[in-house]
């Protein structure tokens, strides 16, 4: 979930620091290397900092505010500090690999530390499949600067010239002489500053010399996750804390507590009372916090509390109301704002020999991350300490401060392992009721949502409606293309500063509910409009769900292109290949999208060969194909996906037998965890396509727990074949992209297997039966 479009950055409104793109921020910093106590410390520091003090002085005074740094102890242990959270991607391992590569470190010496909130880190968000893409360059340069410094010091001690030296296994080596990093640190003196210009000129290893990047390392976070030792937010205990559980009000917005009767709760041993939470930011309204000396007592007491409410004004919205509004919106010519506008679309449709259009619907989908929301809060020494796993200190810290009515710097967020993020822990609003409870009762509080509470307070992926239209000339060439996308917008609700201005200047839009429509097919006349569904926006708080906009938008786009192929009787892969010419704006640019659409073409051709496309299949089986370029057009991971399905002609049941995926994400830093991300995200794609989804009922989510929200389990797992294109290009993202192409590939496969075209997610057996009955 992330967009790196430069125009976006320029358009961010006040309130959000433009520094959220890490690389340019670091390019304005100098790099300091100096000794402090028994460690050698290497850190980026602001340029404006002391011009007179030496690097060593600044470091030993701890006067600096480093945003990327690592240290080597005189024992040889190397600690890389990362401002990214660990939620299953093994990101600490990949980022440390980048440093270790340039530094010439022995992997066994490497440790990773995850940072707590501090302004020094700049804008911190773990999301958007963004971490490696953003940190690759600065971490490579930091490692290279460290290497140079260690070589200079080591050469001096060895009595050789620095030019004769290289680094390997945490040693500086010259011919048959060598010295360990730890010896160098014990003997050497360090005081060195690299200017941003010097940093930029440092030579980074050529790919053929790499010993760490591109090689598998055991992920550093795995062992503690096999023996119960990994500490998640829910495992935090503070001295003197009590437990609390929320009672969630009837509507997401505007609820008000009229009265609370806790007479029954008073019979529960351990019940300590309740608080009607006073949120100065009004993010949560009408919340009651139930406090007890054990969590079980808090659960029980909350269950028997009688609360009367005045519900918010939009208490009766249902899924169909949202869908109806979406259908209305995508059929209004001028609705929403303009996102893509190439050529003259109106003219193309006017002169077209034929045209076609289709409407696609996706239903509300939820996070259901395994660790229910929780936070533990305490006021100590003038600071509000909030302990919880979260994806973004930068969004969570100000939200908590605003709710408490204190300054941002009076809130400190402490990081832990996340029991799943998937976008739900990006805007950490679950910390608000924890902090407010702690404030109102004057005690440390461990605030845990039950699974049902968590579901009620989810930030679901909004239901969506999209309409795609194509104009064909008499030679059946696609001369015009129009895509209208509409949904509830998470970014409007939670980070409006990230909403860029539209192409037509008529307002701002949510990039995370729009991207994916800006495809790489060369079609001369091409228009996208993006539209906020305000009925959804009123009913609930739309959220970022792994793969965000592209996750549902590509379902429309990549289903439609197959529908066109079928209409004009062309192989859908051939049609796609004919549109992927890599010309004009689809040429891509250096470094992240170099060669543009041609790389998409390559993965598609590869997938065609590996997926038995055109081969013989059993009865009622079909293979469908789809492509994607997530997570953003500006950070494309090139993917082609083939789904092999079987459709039971009577029951309509769809079984996914195999998913074959080819992807090009540039340089792969940590191949095994890259593969793990793709395995998981393919299964996410299958799950969202067939097994998940709920509906809005009276402005609440119908699903409340795993009995009525049913993600894919092991017995539904298809076979998977995953192929990475060997590439030395700039690394892009992997956390989300694998999800995107799966649903349209399955829809296309269902069509090829049964002749039934499904235009609704999730795709259910009853939909197949209905369509069959109509046919």
């Amino acid at each position: 979930m992330k967009l790196l479009n430069k125009s976006l950055l320029n358009n961010t409104s006040k309130g959000i620091d433009n520094d959220f793109e890490e690389a340019p921020q670091l390019s304005r910093r100098k790099f300091l290397i100096g000794a402090a106590k028994s460690s050698l410390i290497m850190a980026f520091a602001p340029l404006a900092m002391s011009l007179t003090a030496s690097a060593s002085q600044i470091i030993s005074d701890r006067a600096f505010s480093p945003s990327v740094w690592f240290e080597i102890k005189n024992t040889g242990e190397i600690t890389v500090h990362v401002a990214r959270c660990e939620m299953g991607q093994h990101v600490g391992t990949a980022l440390a690999q980048i440093v270790a590569e340039e530094l010439g470190a022995n992997w066994d010496d490497i440790r990773v530390e995850h940072a707590s909130s501090d302004p020094k880190w700049g804008f911190v968000m773990t999301g958007g499949s963004w971490s490696v893409f953003q940190m690759y360059k600065p971490l490579s340069q930091a490692g290279a600067a460290g290497r140079l410094t260690l070589i200079d010091a080591g050469a001096k001690i060895l009595g050789v010239s620095a030019h004769s030296c290289d680094v390997k296994d945490s040693k500086v080596i010259s011919g048959n002489k060598s010295i360990t990093f730890s010896e160098i640190i014990n003997k050497g003196k360090f005081d060195r500053t690299f200017t941003p210009e010097e940093m930029a000129k440092l030579s980074i290893k050529s790919p053929d010399k790499r010993h760490t990047i591109g090689f598998d390392r055991l992920a550093l976070d795995v062992p503690p996750k096999t023996n119960g030792k990994a500490v998640y937010g829910i495992d935090v205990e503070l001295k003197g804390m009590v437990y609390a559980r929320p009672v969630i009000p009837p509507t997401r917005y505007g609820s008000k507590v009229l009265g609370v009767d806790d007479s029954k709760a008073k019979n529960i041993k351990g019940y300590l009372g309740y608080e009607i939470l006073k949120d100065q930011s009004n993010w949560i309204e009408g919340w009651v916090s139930v406090i007890a000396d054990t969590y079980q007592s808090a659960i029980k007491a909350a269950d028997v509390l009688k609360i009367s409410y005045q519900a918010g004004s939009s208490a009766n919205i249902n899924e169909q109301d949202i869908i109806d509004e979406g259908i209305k919106l995508v059929n209004q010519k001028e609705s929403g704002v303009l996102f893509v506008n190439d050529g003259d679309v109106d003219k193309a449709f006017k002169v077209a020999a034929s045209s076609m259009s289709a409407t696609y619907i996706t239903h509300t989908a939820m996070h259901f991350q395994m660790e229910p929301l929780n936070a533990t809060a305490e006021f100590k020494d003038g600071i509000w300490h909030v302990h919880c796993g979260n994806q973004s200190h930068s969004l969570t810290q100000p939200a908590v401060a605003k709710a408490l009515g204190v300054k941002v710097e009076e809130v400190m967020i402490h990081q832990y392992y996340l029991g799943g993020g998937f976008g739900r822990r990006a805007y950490g609003d679950y910390a608000i009721p924890a902090a407010l409870t702690a404030k109102q009762i004057g005690k440390p509080v461990k605030f845990i949502f039950t699974r049902v509470d968590d579901s009620k307070f989810d930030q679901a992926r909004s239901a969506s409606v999209q309409k795609v239209s194509g104009a064909l000339n008499k030679n059946n060439e696609l001369i015009g293309y129009q895509h209208y996308v509409s949904a509830g917008w998470p970014t409007l609700a939670m980070a409006p500063g990230f909403m860029p201005k539209a192409l037509d200047g008529k307002g701002n839009f949510d990039p995370f509910s729009t991207s994916g429509s800006d495809h790489w097919y060369s079609i001369a006349n091409n228009r996208v409009r993006t539209i906020n569904n305000q009925v959804a926006q009123k009913a609930f708080n739309p959220g970022w769900l792994r793969s965000v906009g592209p996750g549902w938008i590509s379902f429309g786009a990549e289903s439609f292109i197959d529908e066109v192929a079928n209409e004009i009787n062309i192989d859908p892969i051939d049609l796609r290949l004919s549109l992927l010419d890599g010309k004009g704006k689809n040429k891509g640019h250096h470094p992240q999208s170099v060669n543009g659409a041609k790389r998409l073409k390559t993965v598609l051709e590869h997938c065609r060969k590996t997926a038995n496309w055109g081969g013989k299949l059993s009865k009622n089986e079909g293979i469908g194909i789809a492509t994607s370029f997530g997570q953003e057009r500006e950070m494309p991971t090139w993917i082609a996906c083939a789904a092999h399905v079987k459709v039971d002609p009577r029951s309509g049941e769809v079984k996914v037998k195999k998913i074959t995926m080819t992807l090009d994400c540039g340089t792969v830093v940590h191949p095994d965890s890259a593969r793990a991300q793709i395995e998981g995200s393919i299964l996410w794609g299958v799950s969202l396509a067939l097994f998940e989804g709920t509906e809005i009922k009276n402005s609440n989510y119908a699903a409340t727990n795993f009995h009525n929200y049913t993600p894919l389990r092991m017995n539904d797992m298809p076979e998977m074949e995953i192929n990475f294109i060997d590439s030395k290009e700039f690394p892009v993202g992997l956390g989300e992209p694998g999800v995107i192409a799966v649903a349209p590939a399955i829809a296309n496969a269902i069509f090829n297997a049964s002749g039934v075209r499904l235009r609704e997610l999730p795709m259910k057996a009853e939909h197949v039966r209905e369509q069959k009955a109509k046919a």
Binding site: G88, V222, G680, S687, L712, M717
Partner: protein, 163 residues
């Protein structure tokens, strides 16, 4: 007062009889490896062993543990072949469900030293992994089965008794 054996030690709890065993294990005895997921025995994150059976501790009243032997992930002391296989196959992503997965898988291997793919799927589909690390869970179970010395011992006269 409820008394039971927790990872080899006798413990006593004064919590309500109907308190789910999960909270007693976590909050009273401080063993945080067992996780809270759903509270209705649907996800398996809270799986522990009671007298060697996999049980959802979120839905088991404390009273039912009276006199029983309860084992949690900590009770494996990092020595179970599944734990080694979990590291070798790099199974966990977010990791939150993995204690439960390992406890669930252990009862499969206890009864079936060489489970087939379908047997693994049938047994493990009781547990949800939201990161969907299922292919690796499956692989790791097979790996552990291969390495495991548990289960059927085949008499081989060529090997001396003490070997």
């Amino acid at each position: 007062m409820i008394e039971f054996n927790l990872n080899g030690k006798v413990v006593r709890s004064n919590a309500f009889d109907d308190t789910p065993l999960l909270w007693v294990i976590r909050d009273e005895f401080g063993l945080k490896g067992t996780k809270f997921g759903c509270g209705i025995a649907m996800c398996g994150a809270c799986t522990v062993h009671i007298d060697n059976d996999a049980v959802r501790s979120c839905s088991l009243p404390l009273a039912m543990a009276n006199g029983k032997e309860v084992k949690t992930i900590e009770g494996f002391e990092n020595k179970h072949p599944l734990q080694k296989a979990w590291v070798k196959e790099q199974v966990p992503q977010c990791g939150y469900c993995q204690s439960g997965q390992i406890m669930q898988a252990a009862t499969l291997l206890d009864k079936n030293t060489n489970p087939s793919d379908d047997e693994i799927s049938a047994h493990m589909s009781a547990n949800i992994c939201r990161c969907m690390a299922y292919p690796r869970i499956k692989k790791a179970i097979k790996e552990a089965a291969k390495q495991s010395t548990l289960g059927v011992n085949i008499f081989d006269p060529s090997i001396s008794k003490d070997a």
